[in-house]
């Protein structure tokens, strides 16, 4: 997994792979921290920061985890950057053997505000006094919804090719729904076998007459997310070599 990861984006430094392999008790909690960071996603791209090549170093010293992050541009949106730093902080903090966490976003215009703000733990608005009108949950949910719509469309377009009636299909009727179910669960939407295959943001099945337009827009959303992911990976590798 690590080797694949490294070749898909600007590579994490050598040593990271060995640490991720785990199993060596002398390595301490470092491998577990890497695994925990696999669950931290870029909110816009909905892909793990580890796979995107955003994590450059993980170490532990005196039970303090040190994590270094980098992004594709100096001006990546500060709200998304904050979410990744804060999520990395929380993920590492939950690893046994870690008493404190120090996450350092580097080479970013708002690195100081974000790093210090996450360390202080008072939230986004406190990190950017006077510049924010609230926290980031709404932003996060907006992008979870986009990711969910895009994944639904991916599953549905495969089924449509097989002639399945999308308006009445259930999750159990489709293969490979693990990603879709995870995105449902994240939003608190029905994710069981009996759940409708295609639901709106409120969890209600999308009516048959609304399906074509909703799926068409979801397709555009999917193309947009995939395109942004490719561009971000490209910019990261231009910025840092890869």
């Amino acid at each position: 997994m690590s080797a694949t990861t490294a070749s898909r984006a600007a590579s994490p430094p050598s040593g990271a792979d060995a640490a991720r392999a785990g199993g060596n008790p002398a390595a301490g909690p470092v491998p577990a921290i890497w695994r925990a960071l696999d669950a931290v996603v870029d909110p816009e791209l909905d892909e793990p920061v580890t796979e995107l090549g955003f994590v450059t170093a993980v170490s532990v010293e005196d039970r303090v985890a040190h994590i270094r992050l980098r992004l594709p541009t100096y001006f990546c949106a500060p709200n998304f950057a904050y979410l990744m730093v804060a999520d990395a902080y929380e993920a590492a903090r939950a690893v046994p053997g870690v008493d404190a966490v120090d996450v350092r976003l580097e080479d970013h215009f708002a690195a100081d505000e974000i790093n210090d703000g996450v360390a202080a733990g008072d939230g986004f608005a406190a990190a950017f006094p006077g510049l924010a009108a609230g926290e980031l949950e709404e932003l996060r949910i907006t992008f979870w919804r986009k990711a969910h719509a895009a994944e639904q469309e991916r599953v549905a377009s495969r089924l449509a090719r097989d002639g399945v009636d999308l308006a009445t299909a259930r999750l159990r009727d489709a293969p490979d729904t693990a990603r879709l179910r995870r995105r449902r669960e994240r939003l608190g939407l029905p994710a069981g076998d009996d759940a409708p295959l295609l639901v709106g943001d409120d969890g209600a099945p999308i009516p048959a007459d609304a399906l074509p337009l909703r799926l068409r827009l979801a397709r555009t959303t999917r193309i947009s997310i995939e395109g942004n992911s490719g561009f971000c990976r490209g910019l990261l590798s231009t910025r840092y070599g890869g």
Binding site: Y74, F75, P78, A132, T142, S157, T220, S224, G227, N228
Partner: protein, 349 residues
């Protein structure tokens, strides 16, 4: 004009700059970071033989601009879109006056657009009037992520923005180019969201809102509002160079735009000096939707390419297109405010 395979294309480069990104003009680390970020865009998406040195990228001479656009670049008319960034660059990155000075030395080549910032309040309205009179403005470029003191940006739907849009309407400035960036007020919202374009496009039906980068990275939001607002256009700056590095993605972006808003509301741009028009135009005229995508997106005809490369922008800016470069009148839209929304087709099988 560009000619290939018996077809002649009138070319309007709808988004160009004449900037000063040199270290001497960089006011702080933000100016340096901004220029370097552009340079990474340039390096990442340009063909290898079109990549410049950092020094060349920081500042182009007047001769280089004229060469890149008109001598080798096939451009008939280029539209300056100023980007002030006076918090980042000592003399501004690319102001109306800097653009205008160059334009006046080369009559007939350029259209000079202005800019305004709703945070300038009443005083800014006066300056807009002076700018409009001095440069005979037909358009403005607005950058909602621009920093100003403690502020990190604004929205088109802000009350003062409405005042400025009203004034644009009074002054006959009909083309409103909108450029989104990574920051906005408040910072907890998605800065790239184009919902504010939706609001003002409904409120000002006589203005045209040309969304630069066709809303990227929010292509889906852009398509959704542009389908509903006939006076919203998609500018291809930044989308164009994907034609080289990721042609299938470029086909998807263009295919989506054609599906949602049609061929009459898409305008070509190089975003010079991030990229140069010569290779973009050559590649675009040669470009075709890949075969396996044609059942969904159809094919690009010379007529579609002519509209995108120049005729659509010519319509927005009342340019006189030589007779031989126009389309037969039956294929021109009746009104300048664009096509009807694309019909909604069933989901692709």
């Amino acid at each position: 004009m560009y000619s290939k395979d018996g077809q002649d294309y009138f070319v309007v480069d709808s988004h160009i700059h004449f900037w000063d990104g040199t270290p001497a003009n960089q006011a702080n680390r933000y100016g340096e970071g901004f220029l370097n970020c552009f340079y990474d865009y340039h390096r990442n998406l340009s063909p290898e033989d079109r990549v410049w040195s950092l020094e060349h990228f920081q500042r182009q001479t007047e001769e280089q601009v004229m060469h890149d656009l008109f001598e080798e670049g096939y451009v008939d008319k280029a539209i300056f879109q100023p980007t002030y960034l006076t918090d980042f660059f000592v003399n501004g990155f690319n102001t109306t006056e800097q653009d205008g000075a160059l334009a006046e030395r080369h009559p007939g080549r350029f259209i000079v657009n202005g800019s305004w910032d709703p945070r300038d309040g009443e005083a800014g309205l006066g300056r807009l009037e002076q700018l409009a009179e001095r440069w005979n403005l037909q358009g403005v470029k607005l950058y909602t992520a621009e920093w100003k003191g403690d502020s990190k940006g604004w929205k088109l739907s802000d009350p003062w923005s409405y005042r400025y849009l009203e004034r644009c309407q009074q002054l006959g400035i009909r083309n409103i180019h909108v450029h989104k960036g990574p920051t906005i007020y408040p910072l907890n919202r998605d800065a790239f969201d184009v919902a504010d374009v939706d609001d003002v496009a409904s409120a000002f039906p006589q203005l045209r809102f040309i969304v630069e980068h066709c809303g990227l990275p929010r292509l889906e939001d852009f398509c959704w509002i542009a389908t509903q607002e006939p006076n919203v256009y998609g500018g291809l700056a930044v989308a164009m160079p994907f034609i080289h590095s990721r042609p299938r993605y470029f086909a998807q972006v263009l295919g989506e735009l054609l599906y949602w808003i049609g061929a009459d509301r898409i305008t070509f741009a190089s975003d010079y000096a991030i990229w140069t028009p010569k290779w973009l135009i050559e590649r675009f005229v040669d470009f075709q939707i890949p075969e396996d995508m044609q059942s969904e997106y159809g094919v690009l005809t010379p007529e579609i390419k002519k509209k995108i490369l120049g005729l659509n922008a010519a319509r927005l800016y009342d340019l006189d297109v030589p007779a031989g470069l126009r389309l037969p009148s039956a294929t021109e839209p009746d009104e300048a405010i664009g096509s009807e929304p694309a019909p909604v087709a069933p989901v692709a099988p």
